[in-house]
């Protein structure tokens, strides 16, 4: 994997930011995520126009694709740069769910045949999206949290069971799912959501920019992607990578929330002076800044571990991912709370953007495992205690 040079990072960040500012200002995000007009495609919950530009003009979906598959071959830090910007804008696009998690699993597990190459190129071009269903509730990855089961049926496999809170599933053209195979081991399957026995129902979500669905399978025919060996490692590694990239979205959101809070504190006057001149508000903003830098370091440390040549650092990828998830979740949570408080009554209204970030913060906090679970994992992996 190639790391981005500093000027390439800046350029990539600028491209993503420009696209988001142009195509996904707050009004548009609201329409897509919470509106009832045409912008909100109930099936997808995504801004397909923005996603098209991001894929085809900026190339965000190809950026980390290996070069032999036609991608740019950049590593985790490039994904982090994109995620940071998407997080700032709360961009309603399937970057985490499709590009990072589901595509990552497909790359690692697919045979190199024409079908899968075509699929990958369509994913990269944004012409199709994928979603991954790992555990029963979209939470912490653990093999015993898998609720789907798979039975062999001739050439094919039949899947049964229900998974909830599957990010991006309502819009997905491909479902990558983990199910317990007949040998009692988890295995990975590729599922076409349009076949018989698959019901995908969009959920009413807290964060409209993180559309989720419930996927119910009833003897649904699927293709097994993994061989007979254990898949824990490949799933775990893709989840950890997703956590690292997700943490960069959290940092982006955190940064933006701090900007929103300080902008308000600079201009809103009460008692004849800007509220940011009161220490209660000023120090709250300062604490947000400290929290942001904690988060920035944690996220950067996790991303670094996925593209380093240093074996020691690489070996720390798992716990660095957990640390990033725990720290960034807590920082963003603190930030959105402080932002609502600083914005006062205004911050409590639907019209204000504060709740959009609040909803995002509380959703990201629990996706793929809550801080409590990641603290415990960190402690176990580092043999700290």
């Amino acid at each position: 994997m190639t790391a981005l040079a500093e000027d390439e990072r800046r350029e990539l960040a600028q491209s993503v930011r420009s696209a988001c500012e142009r195509l996904a200002p707050e009004e548009r995000v609201r329409d897509v995520a919470y509106g009832d007009g045409e912008a909100r495609d109930a099936r997808s919950g995504f801004d397909t126009g923005l996603w098209d530009v991001l894929c085809n003009q900026v190339g965000v979906a190809a950026i980390a694709l290996p070069e032999h598959l036609g991608g740019a071959g950049y590593g985790a830090s490039a994904l982090g740069v994109v995620a940071h910007e998407l997080g700032r804008a709360l961009a309603p696009v399937p970057f985490i769910s499709s590009t990072v998690l589901a595509t990552g699993l497909l790359i690692d597990l697919s045979e190199r045949d024409a079908d899968s190459e075509k699929r990958l190129s369509e994913l990269v071009e944004g012409r199709r999206t994928a979603a991954a269903a790992l555990t029963g509730d979209g939470g912490m990855w653990r093999r015993n949290a898998v609720t789907l089961s798979a039975g062999r049926s001739g050439e094919h496999w039949r899947l049964d069971g229900t998974v909830r809170h599957v990010l991006g599933a309502a819009a997905a053209d491909d479902l990558v799912v983990v199910a317990t195979a007949d040998n009692g081991q988890p295995a990975v399957f590729l599922l076409d959501p349009t076949v018989d026995g698959v019901a995908v129902e969009a959920e009413r979500a807290l964060d409209g920019t993180r559309p989720m669905a419930t996927v119910a399978l009833n003897a649904a025919s699927a293709v097994r992607l993994s061989g007979d060996g254990p898949v824990d490692d490949v799933v775990s590694r893709n989840v950890d990578m997703t956590l690292a990239v997700l943490s960069a979205e959290q940092v982006g959101a955190c940064e933006r929330v701090l900007e929103l809070a300080t902008a308000h504190a600079r201009t809103r006057e009460q008692f004849g002076r800007p509220i940011g001149s009161f220490q209660a508000v000023k120090h709250k903003c300062a604490d947000m800044l400290v929290d942001l830098e904690w988060a920035r370091s944690a996220s950067q440390a996790a991303l670094e571990a996925f593209e380093t040549d240093d074996a020691t650092i690489a070996s720390e990828a798992e716990w660095r991912a957990s640390m990033a998830k725990a720290v960034c979740s807590e920082s963003l949570r603190n930030a959105v709370h402080a932002n609502v408080q600083i914005r006062g009554g205004i911050g409590f209204t639907w019209e204000d953007s504060a709740h959009l970030y609040f909803r995002r913060a509380r959703t990201d906090e629990v996706l793929l495992g809550a801080p409590a679970q990641h603290w415990d994992r960190l402690s176990t992996l580092t043999k700290l205690l």
Binding site: G138, L206, Q270, A354, R362, A370, D376
Partner: protein, 379 residues
């Protein structure tokens, strides 16, 4: 409080409980807290009327106006029993708790005659027209103008956070009649159907709508709309403060119910690890102590005691903290629409606890300056 009082309140509680248990609940009634949504107004109004018919509204009013002249302990016990029964203790806080005391103390005989009865029985819904977009924590800086005309007063400006305004018959308006920050304010009664008064519902971050913006575009009031004297508005507004402390303890009842649900949810989700258990234990203690502190303050009868002063901060921060735990007890099931889950809903509306009714920052200023005697900031 001596043993005799304890006995009285105990028997009162039993009486309240029996009454509330057997009372017919209008369809759609829920414990919506101090402020109804538009949907809550109809059942809330019917319920208020039933309470009034049985002498359970406006408990703190003097008997001559239909009140019960009830002790603080009596009011507190009734509020707590209502919370336990899952019903509101009145339609809306504005009429009985804000307008009533002001009119009783400062209203003209005609105003008392005209308005108090309707408030008591819930015929008239009132809304509060105090806060403005530019005057939140700094209420005295409000800018809505009341200009004296030949026939009365002309009102121009904008109010916000007016509860139930869309259903309201009258509003209690604080408006500017002069330049002096505090003495330039006066208080008025506004019939909400006055031409030039427009109400626009405000949606909160949780998607519910309990409050409104109210716009005044040369709305004409008659001369008798003024309450008290010109320039007395700030004094009158202050009469309404502090009353909420009397019912803060009843919030603990709802918190205990929520806490129990949360512990169950955490267990159901396999998330009740020792760290979460400790948090839930500490929160339970806070709630228990909140109620105990409230009782201690009520018993002392001293509305200016430290225990009373800190109650608002204790209550709002504890309740908010409880709401914040939703993700910890629900895991990914916290990712649902707040309309679909009480815990998720509380997680959002809990943010208002430390803002509405005086931000926690303002509360800390008050404690620091008024209770601890620390110097004010230079202006």
């Amino acid at each position: 409080m001596n043993d005799r009082d304890v006995e009285d309140v105990q028997s009162l509680r039993a009486q309240f409980r029996a009454f509330l248990d057997s009372a017919p609940k209008p369809p759609g009634l829920r414990n919506y807290g101090p402020t109804p949504t538009a949907d809550d107004v109809a059942p809330g109004r019917a319920w208020h009327r039933y309470l009034a018919d049985n002498g359970y509204t406006c408990l703190h009013w003097p008997r001559e106006f239909g009140g019960a002249a009830a002790s603080v302990a009596y009011q507190a016990a009734f509020a707590e029993e209502c919370a336990r029964a899952g019903v509101p203790r009145q339609l809306n806080i504005t009429g009985p708790d804000l307008v009533g005391p002001v009119l009783i103390k400062f209203g003209s005989p005609e105003q008392k005659d005209r308005f108090l009865g309707g408030i008591r029985i819930g015929d008239d819904v009132w809304t509060q027209l105090f806060s403005e977009p530019g005057a939140g924590s700094d209420l005295a800086s409000l800018r809505t103008r009341a200009e004296h005309t030949a026939t009365g007063w002309r009102i121009d400006g904008q109010k916000v956070w007016s509860s139930a305004a869309a259903s309201a018959d009258y509003g209690l308006l604080l408006a500017r009649t002069g330049p002096d920050k505090h003495r330039g304010l006066s208080m008025f009664v506004v019939p909400m159907d006055t031409p030039g008064v427009t109400v626009r519902p405000l949606t909160q971050m949780d998607g519910e709508s309990k409050f409104n913006e109210v716009f005044f575009d040369s709305a004409e009031l008659s001369d008798d709309a003024l309450i008290g004297e010109v320039g007395q508005g700030w004094t009158l507004a202050m009469v309404t403060l502090g009353r909420e402390r009397l019912t803060l303890g009843s919030q603990a009842v709802a918190m205990f119910q929520l806490h129990e649900r949360m512990v169950d949810a955490a267990r159901d989700h396999g998330l009740l690890d020792p760290v979460l258990s400790r948090s839930m234990t500490r929160l339970w203690s806070r709630m228990w102590l909140l109620r105990y502190t409230w009782q201690r303050a009520i018993d002392s009868g001293d509305l200016t005691s430290s225990a009373f002063s800190v109650l608002k901060l204790m209550t709002s921060e504890t309740d908010q903290h409880l709401g914040d735990m939703a993700t910890e007890v629900l895991g990914t099931d916290a990712c649902v629409d707040p309309a679909d889950d009480e815990l998720v809903h509380h997680m959002l509306v809990g943010r208002a606890q430390t803002i509405l009714g005086g931000t926690s920052e303002i509360q800390r200023n008050i404690l620091g300056e008024r209770v601890l005697g620390l110097p004010k900031e230079p202006r």
